[in-house]
C-alpha cells in the first residue's frame, strides 16, 4: 500500500464515499436515467405524450409529468427527477389534470352592460380597458390605478406585470411616472417572512433547501400544519423519523391539535400570539445555560432592539401606526441578554398556557449543541400582527446557537403558493420592490432597473404604492379608480370582506378580472378576461427552496382564453405614447415568436453577480428544477463575477462550470461565501459561514430584541372566542380549482367550523349542528365538526376559507403587521351560537 497506511486508506475511502453520496444526493445521475428532459416529451405505449411541469398548487413545488393526448391533458404523475418531490404528489396534485376542464371554464371576454356580464369580443374588451386606463391616468395620475396579482403568476407573467405598471404606465400618466400600486396576494401570505429576511440577512429567501430534512434530527413546526399544507415535505420528515425513531424528535407548537401534533413527540399548545414569548424564552434559556455559540456570535451577529407599541393597521392609511414602526437600534449582547431575561419559564408559561416542563423540554431540544435543528413555519407566523417580529425571533434562536446555513440545520420559511418566491418575491411584484431584492425608494436601484428596461429613470416612481389592505381600502375611499386582478380572487380572500365587496359594487371603480372560472371576484367585475391556465401556456415557478422550475406549453386553452401576458401586451399596444410609439413598443419590445426566452434573459440580468443568480434559459428549460444562486465558475461561463480561485473548494459543482447552491452563506457550498471569506482575511468566520449580503451591518446577521405584545383584537364578553382560519389538504385557497374536481369536492364538500369538545358540550352543540359564527364585521353559518382532523384549544374555533358558499372572510379582521403589512387571518374575536 506504499505510503498510504491502513488508517489513511480508511480515511480516504470514507471521504470518497462521502463525496459520492453527496453526488447522489445532489440529484444527479441516479439510476443512470437521462438527466435532461427531451424538450417536447416522449410518447408512451398508450399514445400519451409526457412533458415535465410543476404542480399548480402549493409552495412545495412538486415536479409533475403531464400526459397529453389529442391536445388535451389526460393525466399527471409525480416527476421522479424533480428533487423537490422525487416522484410523489399529494391528492391535489394527483388530480391536477382535472382543474383544466371544469364545465364552466370562461371562454369569451365578458363586459358588464346594464348590470349583467355579457359576451364580447376581445377587441371590444381590450379597447374598453385601454380607454379606461387612458382616461383615468390622464385625469387622476398613476396613483389612481392598481393591479392585484399573485404568487401563482408564472415568473414571466409577474415580470410582464411589473413592467406594465412600474415602467409602462408612466408614459401615459399625467404625472409622468409609473404606478407602484401593484401588490400580489403573496402580501397576505409571505410578506412577514420577506420583511424579516431582509432585516436579518439583507437578502430574501431561505439559506437551506428541502434536503435539510434528510440531514436533521430535530424538527420544530411553529404554527405550521405541514401534514396538510405541505403534504409531500411532511412525508419526508416522517421518513427521517422512521429511519431513526429513537433519535429524531418532532416538536409542534400551535394553537390547535393538527395532524402534525398527532405525529409529534412533543406538542406545545399556546394561547394565540404568545409564540412571541415562547421564542424569547428559548433565547433566554440558551443564554442562561450558555448554549450559544460564542465564536459564531462574535463573528457573525449584531444585536438590535426594535421599536415597540407599533399598532395594528386598523385605521385607514395606517393612521394608528407610528412612522418609526420598523426602526431598529443597535444594542450590545449584554443588553440583549438582559432583555430576554424577562422571559423566564414561569412568566412564559403563565402567558402562553404551556406547562413549564414542556417549555423546558422544548428549549432543551432546540438548543442542544448535539442536535441538528430545523424550524418550519408558514401562515401561523406570517399572518400575524407581529409577523415580522416572530420571524426574527426564530432567527434569533438559530443564530445564537449557530444552527443555520448548514446541512440539516436552519430556519426555513415555507411558502404557501407555488411561486410566492419565484414570482412575487424574486421578480418583486410588490408596491415597494423591483426585481432581485431592489426597492423603488433607492435611487441606485431605480437606475439599474431603468437601464435594463431601457427607459428614462424618471419614469420609475420613487413613491411606494398602496399595499394590499390599503389598496382595497383606497377603493372604498375613492382614490383607486381602476383595479386589474389576475390569477387571484380577492373578493373571497380579503379579510373584512363585506367592506370591500360593498365598495367594489358601490364606488366608482372599474374592475378587470383575468381568471379561468367564475369566482366571487368576477361577480363584481366590469370586464372579465378568460385566461389560459397552468400548462396552457409556457411558464416557470420558483418554490420555497429557491428552485426555479420551467414548463413548456403543453395543451391548448379552451375557446378564446388567452394568456395574461398577451392580455397586458394587447392593452399596452392600445396605449399610444406618441405618433410612432405605443407602451408595448417600449416595455414589450420582444420578438413575438421568442419572447419567453428574451424576457427571461432580460429578467435574469437583474440577478447576476449579486448572489441571486438565476440559471440560463436553456438550463431551466431542460433541467427538472434548478436552485438559485446558480453560480458560474468564471465570467467566461456566463457570469459577472469570477470564482475560479475558490471553485475547487465548493461542493456539488457541475462539469458545465456551474453550481446550484444548496446552502447559501456557507463557504463549502456557496461560491459567494467562499469568495468573500478569501477577500476578507482580517476577519474570522466560524464554520465558514458569512452573511455576505448584509453590507449595512458589516456582514453580520441581526438578532432582534422585540417583546410580546397583545394581538389587535382579543376575545371579550361579547365575542368570547378566537377565530383562526386556514386550509385543508383537499382544497386549494378559494377552491376555484379544487372544488371543480369532483373527487376532491366529494371528499370535502363544504367548510365546517372545528370546535373544541368542551366548548361544544357547554353550548349544547353537536357534530353536524349548524352554528352561527359572528364578529363585529358580520356573521356566517357553518356546520359544526367536533373531534375531527383539527381540534382547537378551548376558546378557539377554526374555519377553512375555501368554500365560496360560506365565506369566513366576511367575519375576519383587516388588521395587519405594521412592518410587513401582512394581514392577520389567525386571530380575531367571534361569538358562537347554535342556530
Amino acid at each position: 500500500m506504499g505510503a498510504m497506511d491502513r488508517r489513511d486508506f480508511i480515511k480516504s475511502t470514507a471521504a470518497s464515499l462521502a463525496v459520492s453520496s453527496l453526488l447522489v444526493s445532489c440529484g444527479k445521475k441516479e439510476k443512470g436515467e437521462p438527466l435532461v428532459q427531451k424538450i417536447g416529451g416522449e410518447i408512451d405505449a398508450l399514445g400519451i405524450k409526457w412533458d415535465k411541469s410543476v404542480c399548480r398548487f402549493c409552495g412545495v413545488g412538486c415536479g409533475v409529468l403531464v400526459g397529453r393526448k389529442n391536445g388535451k391533458v389526460v393525466a399527471t404523475k409525480g416527476d421522479p427527477e424533480c428533487w423537490s418531490n422525487k416522484g410523489l404528489n399529494c391528492i391535489k396534485g394527483y388530480f391536477l389534470s382535472k382543474i383544466l376542464y371544469g364545465k364552466d371554464r370562461l371562454t369569451t371576454p365578458l363586459i358588464r352592460k346594464n348590470g349583467k356580464l355579457v359576451s364580447a369580443t376581445w377587441d371590444e374588451a381590450l379597447d374598453l380597458i385601454a380607454k379606461k386606463y387612458e382616461e383615468i391616468l390622464k385625469r387622476d395620475g398613476s396613483d389612481a390605478v392598481a393591479m392585484f396579482g399573485t404568487g401563482q403568476w408564472t415568473i414571466f407573467e409577474g415580470y410582464a406585470a411589473v413592467k406594465f405598471m412600474k415602467a409602462g404606465l408612466g408614459f401615459i400618466s399625467k404625472d409622468g411616472v409609473g404606478s407602484n400600486n401593484i401588490d400580489p396576494n403573496a402580501r397576505m401570505c409571505m410578506a412577514s417572512a420577506v420583511a424579516a429576511f431582509m432585516r436579518t440577512f439583507q437578502s430574501d429567501e431561505p439559506m437551506g433547501t428541502y434536503e435539510d430534512i434528510e440531514h436533521a434530527d430535530t424538527f420544530f413546526t411553529w404554527g405550521a400544519n405541514m401534514a396538510e399544507m405541505h403534504p409531500v415535505l411532511f412525508s419526508r420528515i416522517i421518513d427521517t423519523k422512521l429511519k431513526n425513531p429513537d433519535r429524531v424528535k418532532i416538536v409542534d407548537l400551535g394553537t390547535q391539535f393538527t395532524r402534525v401534533s398527532e405525529e409529534a413527540d412533543l406538542y406545545l399548545e399556546f394561547k394565540p400570539q404568545t409564540d412571541l414569548a415562547i421564542a424569547n424564552y428559548f433565547a433566554n434559556y440558551i443564554i442562561k445555560n450558555k448554549l450559544y455559540d460564542e465564536d459564531f456570535v462574535k463573528d457573525n451577529l449584531v444585536f438590535k432592539k426594535g421599536e415597540t407599541n407599533i399598532g395594528y393597521g386598523l385605521k385607514d392609511k395606517g393612521a394608528d401606526i407610528p412612522k418609526t414602526a420598523g426602526k431598529m437600534e443597535k444594542i450590545s449582547f449584554d443588553e440583549y441578554k438582559k432583555f430576554v431575561s424577562t422571559y423566564t419559564a414561569k412568566y412564559t408559561s403563565k402567558l402562553s398556557g404551556v406547562p413549564v416542563e414542556k417549555l423546558r423540554e422544548a428549549a432543551k431540544l432546540i438548543s442542544d449543541p448535539n442536535r441538528k435543528v430545523c424550524s418550519y413555519w408558514t401562515m401561523g407566523f406570517n399572518q400575524h400582527t407581529r409577523g415580522t417580529w416572530v420571524n426574527h425571533l426564530v432567527y434569533n434562536i438559530h443564530l445564537l446557537t449557530g444552527k443555520i446555513a448548514k446541512p440539516g440545520q436552519g430556519p426555513f420559511s415555507l411558502t404557501g403558493q407555488p411561486s410566492a418566491c419565484g414570482t412575487a418575491r424574486e421578480v418583486g411584484t410588490f408596491v415597494h420592490r423591483l426585481p432581485a431584492d431592489m426597492v423603488v425608494k433607492v435611487a441606485k436601484h431605480r437606475e439599474i432597473a431603468a437601464k435594463i428596461w431601457k427607459i428614462p429613470v424618471e419614469k420609475i416612481n420613487p413613491k411606494v404604492g398602496l399595499h394590499t389592505i390599503e389598496m382595497f381600502r383606497a377603493i372604498d375611499n375613492g382614490q383607486i379608480k381602476l383595479l386589474w386582478t389576475q390569477v387571484t380572487n380577492p373578493f373571497h380572500s380579503m379579510p373584512n370582506l363585506n367592506r370591500f365587496t360593498k365598495a367594489a359594487k358601490e364606488r366608482d371603480i372599474f374592475i378587470i378580472v383575468s381568471d379561468v372560472y367564475p369566482t366571487r371576484s368576477t361577480e363584481v367585475a366590469d370586464v372579465v378576461l378568460p385566461s389560459a391556465m397552468w400548462v396552457e401556456k409556457e411558464g416557470a415557478y420558483g418554490n420555497a427552496e429557491r428552485r426555479t422550475q420551467h414548463w413548456n406549453k403543453i395543451a391548448d386553452s379552451p375557446g378564446e382564453a388567452r394568456t395574461e401576458i398577451w392580455q397586458m401586451w394587447e392593452v399596452a399596444k392600445r396605449l399610444k405614447v406618441d405618433a410612432n410609439r405605443t407602451v408595448a413598443d417600449i416595455i414589450y419590445n420582444y420578438n413575438p415568436d421568442n419572447y419567453y426566452e428574451e424576457m427571461w434573459d432580460e429578467y435574469r440580468s437583474f440577478t447576476l453577480g449579486i448572489g441571486k443568480d438565476l440559471a440560463p434559459y436553456n438550463v431551466i428549460r431542460e433541467e427538472h428544477g434548478v436552485c438559485w444562486p446558480y453560480v458560474a465558475k468564471s465570467k467566461a461561463v456566463n457570469g459577472k463575477k469570477d470564482f475560479s480561485d475558490v471553485w475547487a473548494d465548493i461542493e456539488n459543482t457541475e462539469p458545465n462550470g456551474f453550481v446550484s447552491v444548496k446552502w447559501r452563506y456557507n463557504a463549502r457550498y456557496d461560491p459567494y461565501a467562499a469568495k468573500f471569506i478569501k477577500e476578507h482575511p482580517e476577519r474570522s468566520f466560524k464554520d465558514g459561514i458569512v452573511f455576505y449580503k448584509a453590507s449595512k451591518n458589516d456582514y453580520r446577521a441581526t438578532v432582534l430584541a422585540v417583546p410580546y405584545e397583545p394581538p389587535g383584537e382579543s376575545p371579550d364578553n361579547e365575542y368570547p372566542f378566537w377565530l383562526c382560519t386556514g386550509r385543508v389538504l383537499e382544497h386549494w385557497h378559494t377552491g376555484t380549482m379544487t372544488m371543480r374536481v369532483p373527487e376532491l369536492r366529494r371528499a370535502v364538500p363544504r367548510a365546517v367550523v372545528n370546535l373544541n369538545e368542551d366548548d361544544a358540550r357547554k353550548m349544547g352543540i353537536k357534530r353536524g349542528d349548524l352554528v352561527r359564527i359572528s364578529s363585529r364585521r358580520g356573521s356566517v353559518v357553518f356546520p359544526a365538526d367536533i373531534g375531527g382532523r383539527s381540534v382547537p384549544q378551548k376558546g378557539l374555533v377554526f374555519i377553512p376559507f375555501f368554500d365560496e358558499t360560506r365565506m369566513v372572510n366576511e367575519i375576519t379582521l383587516d388588521q395587519y403587521d405594521p412592518i410587513s403589512k401582512e394581514p392577520d387571518y389567525k386571530k380575531c374575536a367571534v361569538k358562537v351560537e347554535k342556530v
Binding site: P80, K86, G87, L88, N89, C90, I91, Y94, F95, E214, E228, P231, V232, F234, S235, R236, I238, D239, L242, K243, R259, E262, V728, L729, E730, E743, L744, R746, A747, V748, K766, R767, G768, G787, G788, R789
Partner: protein, 215 residues
C-alpha cells in the same frame, strides 16, 4: 267479454307484468345480498321480522341517508337501508332514526352514537388505494369522525423513493361504527375502502383465540 274471460285475461296480463317486472329488476341488478341497516338495527332476520315498514326513520333522517327498499327488493320492501357511496351515515349524536322507530327493530337502548355498528370499513382494493401507493391522500383517515381511533395511520418507508413515507390507513374494528363516510369520500372511481358486515370471517373465534394465546 264476460266476467270469467276478463279475470283470466287480467290474470295473464298481471302475470306478464310481474314476470316482466322481475326480469327487469334482475336486469337492473337491484337485488342486494346485504342491506346496511340504520344504527342500532337488530340482526337481519330479526330486523326483518320487527320492522313494520313504517318509514319513520327514513322520514326523520336529516341527511337522507336512509332510503326505503321498494318492490324490487323482494322481502325487504319497505325497510330502510343505506348506500354509503350515495349518502353515508353522519352519526347524529341524538340518533333521530332510533327515536323515530315505533318498534324495537332499532335498539332504543343505543344512546351513544359512537357505539353503533352498521358494519366495519376495510380497505378492499389495496392495489388501487392511493395512500398505499405513497400519494399523500389519506382522505378516509381525515374524514373519519373517530379519527385516530377507528382509523389510524401505519407509517412505512416508501420503497421506491426511500425518501418518503407511506401512510397506510388501518381500520380498527373495535371503534369503527360503519358510518361509511370513508367509503363515501374515497376519491377513486371505484372506492378502495368499503363497509362490510361486522360479522365475518372466523365466527367460531379460533383465530382470535390463537392470537390471544400468542400475544
Amino acid at each position: 267479454m264476460d266476467r270469467r274471460e276478463f279475470i283470466k285475461k287480467g290474470f295473464v296480463i298481471t302475470a306478464i307484468g310481474t314476470v316482466g317486472g322481475f326480469s327487469l329488476v334482475n336486469l337492473m341488478g337491484r337485488s342486494r345480498e346485504i342491506y346496511f341497516r340504520p344504527p342500532g338495527a337488530l340482526p337481519e332476520d330479526e330486523f326483518l321480522a320487527a320492522c313494520i315498514r313504517c318509514g319513520k326513520c327514513v322520514q326523520d333522517c336529516p341527511y337522507d341517508t336512509l332510503v326505503l327498499a321498494d318492490i324490487r327488493d323482494g322481502i325487504s320492501v319497505g325497510t330502510p337501508y343505506i348506500t354509503f357511496r350515495s349518502v353515508p351515515c353522519y352519526m347524529c349524536e341524538d340518533l333521530p332514526c332510533i327515536a323515530a322507530c315505533p318498534t324495537d327493530a332499532l335498539d332504543h337502548s343505543l344512546t351513544d352514537v359512537n357505539k353503533m355498528n352498521i358494519g366495519t370499513a376495510v380497505i378492499t382494493d389495496r392495489e388501487a388505494c392511493l395512500s398505499l401507493n405513497g400519494i399523500r391522500c389519506e382522505i378516509c383517515y381525515r374524514v373519519c369522525p373517530l379519527i385516530d381511533k377507528a382509523i389510524t395511520l401505519n407509517k412505512q418507508e416508501q420503497a421506491i423513493t426511500h425518501r418518503h413515507t407511506v401512510f397506510e390507513p388501518v381500520i380498527h374494528k373495535d371503534f369503527c361504527t360503519g358510518c361509511g363516510i370513508c367509503e363515501n369520500a374515497c376519491p377513486l372511481d371505484e372506492t378502495a375502502i368499503r363497509v362490510i358486515p361486522s360479522e365475518r370471517g372466523d365466527k367460531a373465534g379460533h383465530y382470535f383465540y390463537l392470537r390471544e394465546q400468542q400475544s
